[in-house]
């Protein structure tokens, strides 16, 4: 069967999306032929997940977008319509109920087989569950609880459920990072399942940042960079290096401006630090130095800042300016002169009930009080000075913080910490979900801070950002440092290759 001769299973046209003044998707179009595996790749923040969420009806697209499923127009932003059209999703978290059995999970959203008087006919239900899994070429003990299954078995259950709920009318299956937590051997089992599904003529949209999987599985690949579609190509026309170039090319907006400073004494030192993902880590950051940490999801990069600052339990020693910082004591970390700009801005960064002024002054409000009373003039004046320094754009200091765009919120969070004159600045994904202009401004501010003698640690999934900012970059894989790049060696492509475990 030649996929190209029939109407595409899915045809998305001119999808754009704006969040609070920031355009995160620009006219993205994408089509999937029957039986095709179409990979969607891009760095974090490139708009992959936004596109999936628009397709799923989670977000509404900006006007002008359209979607055709099997040649029929469907309304984007309406989850029911897309569901009726036979588009199914297996999201990264799978959406299973861990404490229930496989049978129950398969019946959820599909309905139980009923017997006399409306009671559940368990025998028929169990048989149906087994059949659903066999249809994708997989066998699992359907009576087992989902929480006791292997990652690949859980994914299989999720796929079986998606297929089963669309018996006969399934047109598109969207798999969002299905292998994120899967060992290599299990990935092969998953591919067999996917191949079984594609042979039934279903179009598959496969989102992943494991590039070797893309080449093994996909027919075509679409690359997103900063919300723009930069290419849709047949995988046979590309090699891994070419794909990496597409993903990273043309985004390094400006050269590094900070002159090579002479780093000072060590301000932050980690010895034998260990967390949920990090196995063992030693690290020193000197005054005036910007050290980056790269690594894919699950490498330990995501938890490092939280471990150091005390937001997550850790073992091992952390010393700040020679003084030991115990685990799980964020207020002690602050007192020692440490600051953290967390990755999850909405959950950990901004305080959404407070306005811009209160957020900007949150860490320093004590200084604004004489005796116990906050002096309102100083309160306003300092907030105004922070927002000017950070070039925050806000309707007023009294506006709710959540009315600001992501970039401006991030500037407030950063400004709040810079006001404390920290000695050690931890930045976790400092420009995630931030538009290009604000990103450049934040980068300049970080340069500035480091040149004043602050020790800066940047954990980022955006390798170009690390190249732009850092004097030195450590690459984590499976919770350990696998490589260290210094000065001119810090190059986006080398970081990406080493993070993915490719030989460069």
């Amino acid at each position: 069967m030649n996929p190209d001769q029939r109407a595409p299973r899915l045809d998305l046209r001119a999808v754009s999306k704006t969040f609070g003044g920031t355009r995160v998707l620009h006219d993205v179009s994408l089509d999937i032929a029957p039986g095709e595996v179409h990979a969607l790749v891009g760095q974090n923040g490139s708009g992959k997940s936004t596109l999936i969420k628009i397709l799923a009806g989670f977000h509404e697209a900006d006007p002008g977008a359209s979607a055709l499923v099997d040649g029929r127009p469907r309304s984007l932003g309406d989850p029911d319509d897309i569901h009726d059209a036979g588009v199914r999703f297996v999201h990264q978290d799978l959406g299973l109920v861990p404490a229930l059995s496989v049978v129950d999970n398969l019946a959820l959203g599909h309905g139980y087989a009923r017997g006399m008087g409306g009671r559940i006919n368990w025998r028929r239900q169990t048989a149906a569950a087994e059949a659903a899994l066999r249809a994708i070429g997989y066998e699992v003990d359907v009576r087992a609880l989902v929480e006791d299954l292997q990652p690949v078995e859980r994914t299989a259950v999720a796929i079986a459920r998606a297929l089963q709920s669309a018996q006969g009318e399934m047109s598109v299956l969207v798999l969002d990072e299905p292998t994120a937590t899967m060992p290599k051997a299990e990935v092969q089992r998953l591919f067999e399942i996917i191949n079984t599904v594609r042979q039934q003529g279903v179009g598959i949209l496969y989102v992943s940042h494991h590039l070797e999987e893309v080449f093994e599985l996909a027919d075509r690949v679409t690359v997103l960079v900063d919300g723009h579609r930069v290419a849709t190509k047949r995988c046979s026309e590309l090699d891994q290096r070419g794909l990496v170039d597409l993903m990273t090319g043309g985004v390094v907006d400006e050269a590094r401006q900070r002159s090579t400073t002479v780093p000072g004494e060590p301000l932050l030192a980690l010895r034998g630090v260990r967390g949920a993902e990090i196995v063992e880590l030693d690290l020193q950051v000197l005054a005036g130095e910007v050290v980056g940490v790269a690594g894919i999801t699950g490498s330990g990069r995501e938890e490092l800042c939280s471990l150091i600052f005390g937001a997550k339990p850790r073992e091992g020693r952390v010393t700040v300016r020679g003084r030991e910082l115990p685990a799980l004591r964020p207020h002690t970390a602050c007192a020692l002169g440490m600051a953290l700009v967390p990755a999850n801005r909405l959950r950990d960064g901004i305080v959404s009930g407070l306005n811009v002024r209160e957020n900007a002054n949150l860490t320093t409000v004590r200084r604004l009080a004489r005796h116990v009373r906050i002096r309102p003039r100083d309160d306003r004046r300092q907030a105004a000075s922070i927002s000017t320094k950070m070039s925050v754009k806000a309707p007023s200091l009294e506006s709710p913080i959540e009315s600001l765009s992501g970039g401006n919120q991030q500037k407030v969070v950063l400004g709040k910490w810079l006001q404390t004159d920290p000695h050690v600045l931890l930045l976790d994904e400092p420009t995630q979900g931030v538009d290009i202009k604000a990103k450049a401004e934040i980068h300049h501010l970080i340069d500035d801070v480091a040149s004043k003698g602050v020790a800066v640690l940047v954990c980022s999934s955006d390798e170009a950002e690390l190249e732009r900012l850092c004097d030195r970059v450590l690459v984590l894989r499976h919770g350990r440092v696998v490589s260290e790049f210094n000065g001119a060696e810090v190059q986006t492509r080398r970081l990406v290759h080493t993070s993915l475990g490719l030989t460069s």
């Binding site: 207020h331 959950r347 116990v372 806000a394 959540e402 765009s405």
Partner: protein
């Protein structure tokens, strides 16, 4: 340069910027199209600020309407005194609710705490024969200690606040019975200054109103003008972000729960002074109106925030509405419960929606 926060242009001033290389900064006065003031309907921004003071206007309107309808019963000075005095005790308990809600925690045992305090005070005054000032201080300390125990259960053992304090309510009911033997204690032999402290009037205004005013003033200052208050609101809005800003979340939540306990005890003390007897089980009827007024208060003055001024407006709005309806329909004894229950549900739904809208944006 003097800055006024209403100026739209002050936020971007290129001259004060650090050297940012090639970055282009918008000229003053230009803001993102998406960052304008959103989410406020136009009608609310007028001079009346209906988004903030609707309760106040409604209270005034209701007072006028009932005074016209019922000039002999509602529209009298003595009725105004009754409303003011009876609301004072409810008001202290309402502020007790608000102070823990502001910190994002919850204490449903405060009515039981009030009941217990009344029994404890009565016993200390009669059986133990303590001087009343000492007895009052011990009662307030006991109330604060109950708050501290709640805090320990919630923050150290990780029990949900509603479950922890529901359990505590039952424990306190048992303790109350044990302390007072399930009886109302008459305070005949107690110094007359004790009841004087609850029944006197200052310039014809009942003294209890001044107690409420004092509590309100202290809490208002604490919550809106001190770093502590700023921290409490930060915790109430987003405890995770507050913790990562170096705020000691559990400690301040514990402090709030202790204040709640002490204020609940104070409500019991004032009620005992006013009645001249320690009435058994007198706290329970105050529970629901206190929560109703607290949630209604969060829709006023500083919408979405449990604040003192809004709570006071809500308190009197509720008191006027209930009293007016009771006098208008004397044969409907259930009208108070109906009004308070409805107000609780409606106010919570409004507050919850405001908070949800904020979160999902």
């Amino acid at each position: 340069m003097k800055r006024t926060i209403k100026e739209r242009s002050v936020m971007t001033s290129p001259t004060d910027l650090p050297a940012v290389g090639t970055t282009v900064v918008d000229p003053p006065g230009v803001t993102d199209p998406g960052s304008g003031p959103r989410g406020r309907p136009a009608w609310s921004a007028g001079v009346l600020r209906l988004d903030r003071y609707s309760g106040l206007y409604l209270a005034v309107i209701l007072a006028v309407v009932f005074s016209v309808l019922l000039p002999d019963t509602f529209g009298t000075l003595s009725n105004a005194r009754v409303i003011a005095a009876s609301s004072a005790i409810a008001g202290i308990l309402t502020l007790a609710v608000a102070v823990s809600m502001a910190a994002g925690t919850f204490d449903i045992s405060l009515a039981a705490n009030m009941t217990f305090s009344i029994c404890l005070l009565g016993t200390l005054l009669t059986s133990a024969d303590l001087p009343w000032v000492l007895a009052v201080i011990l009662t307030l300390l006991a109330g604060a200690s109950i708050g501290a125990v709640n805090a320990l259960i919630i923050t150290r053992l990780g029990v949900e606040p509603i479950v922890a304090t529901l359990g505590m309510s039952s424990v306190l009911a048992a303790l109350s019975f044990w302390v007072a033997d399930g009886q109302t204690i008459l305070l005949d032999g107690v110094s007359p200054t004790f009841t004087e402290a609850g029944q006197a009037t200052i310039a014809t205004v009942p003294i209890t109103v001044f107690y409420l005013a004092a509590v309100a003033l202290v809490l208002w200052f604490l919550l809106e003008h001190t770093p502590l208050g700023r921290y409490i609101y930060a915790i109430g809005s987003n405890p995770q972000a507050a913790k990562l800003a170096g705020i000691k979340v559990l400690r301040l939540q514990s402090l709030s729960l202790m204040m709640t306990g002490a204020l609940a005890a104070l409500a019991g003390v004032v009620l005992t002074m006013q009645l001249g007897a320690s009435a058994f089980g007198a706290g329970a009827p105050y529970l629901l109106p206190a929560f109703a007024a607290t949630f209604l208060g969060a829709t006023q003055i500083l919408p979405g925030r449990f604040n003192v001024r809004g709570t006071i407006i809500a308190l009197y709005l509720l008191a006027i509405a209930v009293k007016g309806l009771q006098l208008q329909f004397p044969d409907l004894p259930w009208i108070k419960d109906l009004v308070e229950g409805t107000v609780l549900i409606v106010a919570v739904s409004i507050t919850a929606r405001a908070i949800r809208q904020r979160r999902t944006r």
